[in-house]
């Protein structure tokens, strides 16, 4: 009651006030709230602030890549499946956010064996005195105690990487997978498969101890996503009409503007992905990494365009876009360990690889609507190996030792190869099991009728472009 009265009173006043605008002046001017005294400032605190800023901002950029993946994947698919792909790519980051919070983070960074994390497994609830680093650190997530930022900053940065790995799968299995089944698989990715590999490489696991290096995740993110996608592609089988009576049919994407926009966004996001992986505002590191990253992308764009020019007589935009992504994936592992010139070479090769891979997977009758395998799997492997070939010791500070081409011999290369093989076997095997289990329990593929009419109507009851005359004979 009193409340209401008071409100009405103030309201009346407000109105009077606003109509003869300055009347308010009549009211006594009230003192400003007591000022909070500024705390004295330590350089160490400034450093923490700076590093946290860098980690968060780059994490935001990586988050933004979700838009890129959604746009690229739906743009390369048919209009009738657009809503479904958008839904998958949209919901997958929510799934990762929850899965990685519940268990993923703990499995990946919790102190534990060489194979998995065992402490502070659930809800990032382990003891931790971040941003304390090194010797000062006390807690159960010591593998990531090298960076001096708060625990939630570490978590968020790692989360967006986990989300990327999960989202890679979406494109390869597009246009035929059940929405719900995909969601379930994404949980498995975010909670188990990704974190385990992550533990091996970034969580102080056996590969890390073996001296394997993956700066920003050619292996941890892209190979993991790629192998899981491959298993899915094999188990799902090709889309209806893709390989009919022995021929390879093309199923053109419905919106190449969208796909191009998406690729630009991914390129942009990669400037968070790679330079951000310093997890500190290290001037030399971040600028070097940004330049190697961009150089590789540029070289790959050129080489992919040229190769498709030569092979297909016309420069296919899809190939140019995949070329860009291929270069970015390939440089992800080595970006901080190689020179700019090496980055150019790595990128140039990646651009060629991706074009050949796209053609190869078609020949192999593996139907990957968006080229996820050619981009993430093939070049994730290539990039991981490149560390063993092109690394130059301490080029941005990290003691990787030299790669084969720089007189370092096979030590580094072997570690990289070990990672490629073990991660490949593990992820392919684990995700195959997951796919098969899901198929057994809830089914994996939509009905033939639904696939013909489109998953948008079948799975969601929606139409992506209502009012537009969309007319396709496939």
């Amino acid at each position: 009651m009193r409340h209401n009265l008071k409100i009405n009173k103030s309201l009346m006043i407000v109105n009077i006030l606003l109509f003869m605008l300055w009347a308010g002046a009549a009211l006594a001017d009230e003192a400003a709230p007591a000022p909070v005294a500024a705390p004295e400032i330590k350089t160490s605190d400034l450093k923490i602030g700076m590093d946290t800023m860098w980690v968060m901002i780059t994490a935001f950029l990586v988050f933004f890549m979700n838009l890129g993946f959604a746009a690229v994947e739906s743009g390369f698919a048919r209009a009738k499946n657009c809503v479904n792909i958008m839904s998958k790519n949209f919901v997958v980051f929510a799934v990762s956010s929850i899965g990685f919070l519940l268990l993923g983070w703990g499995l990946m960074f919790g102190d534990g064996s060489g194979l998995i994390g065992l402490k502070g497994l659930f809800m990032v609830s382990g003891a931790d005195n971040s941003p304390a680093t090194g010797g000062a650190y006390e807690g159960v997530y010591s593998a990531i105690s090298w960076t001096g930022v708060p625990l939630w900053a570490k978590f968020f940065f790692q989360l967006v990487f986990c989300g990327t790995a999960a989202t890679i799968v979406s494109g390869a299995v597009a246009e035929r997978i059940k929405y719900l089944s995909f969601i379930v698989f994404s949980f498995v990715m975010a909670m188990l498969i990704y974190p385990v590999v992550g533990h091996w490489v970034w969580g102080g696991g056996w590969l890390a101890k073996m001296g394997m290096f993956d700066f920003a995740g050619s292996t941890v993110v892209h190979c993991v996503g790629g192998w899981a996608a491959l298993a899915g592609v094999i188990i799902l089988g090709p889309r209806i009409g893709k390989f009919s009576n022995g021929q390879i049919k093309s199923i053109p994407g419905h919106n190449l503007s969208l796909a191009t926009v998406g690729t630009f966004v991914l390129w942009f996001g990669w400037f968070g992905f790679n330079p951000g992986s310093t997890m500190a505002a290290d001037p030399v590191g971040i600028s070097h990494v940004a330049v190697t990253t961009n150089a590789a992308a540029a070289a790959a764009i050129m080489s992919a365009t040229i190769v498709s020019y030569l092979l297909l007589r016309k420069p296919d935009l899809g190939m140019t876009l995949n070329g860009c992504l291929a270069g970015l994936v390939a440089i992800t592992a080595p970006c901080a360990f190689v020179s700019v010139s090496s980055a150019l070479i790595i990128g140039a090769i990646a651009g060629v690889l991706v074009v050949l891979a796209v053609l190869m997977f078609d020949r192999l009758r593996l139907d990957d609507p968006v080229g996820a395998l050619s981009v993430h799997l093939v070049n994730g492997i290539f990039g991981t190996i490149c560390v063993g070939l092109f690394a130059q010791d301490k080029i941005t500070g990290t003691a990787t030792g030299n790669g084969l081409f720089f007189g370092g011999g096979f030590t580094l290369l072997n570690a990289q190869l070990a990672a490629v093989i073990t991660v490949g076997l593990f992820v392919f095997f684990m995700s195959a099991i997951a796919w098969i289990a899901i198929r057994a329990i809830m089914g994996l593929r939509v009905s033939r009728e639904e696939e013909m009419r489109g998953l948008d109507i079948g799975e969601h009851g929606n139409e992506a472009y209502s009012g537009f005359q969309v007319f396709s004979t496939m």
Binding site: G461, N462, S466, F471, S472, T473, M474
Partner: protein, 113 residues
């Protein structure tokens, strides 16, 4: 001369074209159309409001032929488009009193092919 109008399922277009080519009917015009017939529609929903969609995507073929080609053409279409399921479509035939090739001005049967 006859003008043959056929409604078929979109995904049958390629096969029908092939069949027509075999029957030496190489010329036609294709339009997308929405069909309402015996075939059941489906339900869509948008932001919580459901609605019935009973106009289904079909392809409309328009083929002008000489008398001698009518049966061939019809059979080719039926042969390729039939699945035996509701929604296969219809063929309509109307008399064609004249046919002119714009490029040459030719008229009648000569202009059809």
């Amino acid at each position: 001369m006859k003008l043959i109008i056929a409604y078929i399922q979109p995904h049958k277009l390629e096969e029908v074209k092939a069949a027509l080519a075999k029957a030496e009917v190489g010329k036609m015009s294709v339009t997308n159309s929405l069909g309402c017939g015996a075939q059941m529609g489906y339900e869509e929903s948008y932001r919580g409001v459901k609605f019935e969609v009973n106009l289904l995507k079909k392809v409309r073929l328009e083929i002008a032929v000489n008398e001698s080609f009518v049966d061939k053409t019809v059979n080719a279409i039926i042969g390729a488009a039939r699945t035996g399921q509701i929604g296969d479509g219809k063929i309509f035939i109307v008399d064609l009193v004249e046919c002119i090739r714009i490029r040459t001005g030719e008229r009648g049967s000569a202009a059809i092919g």
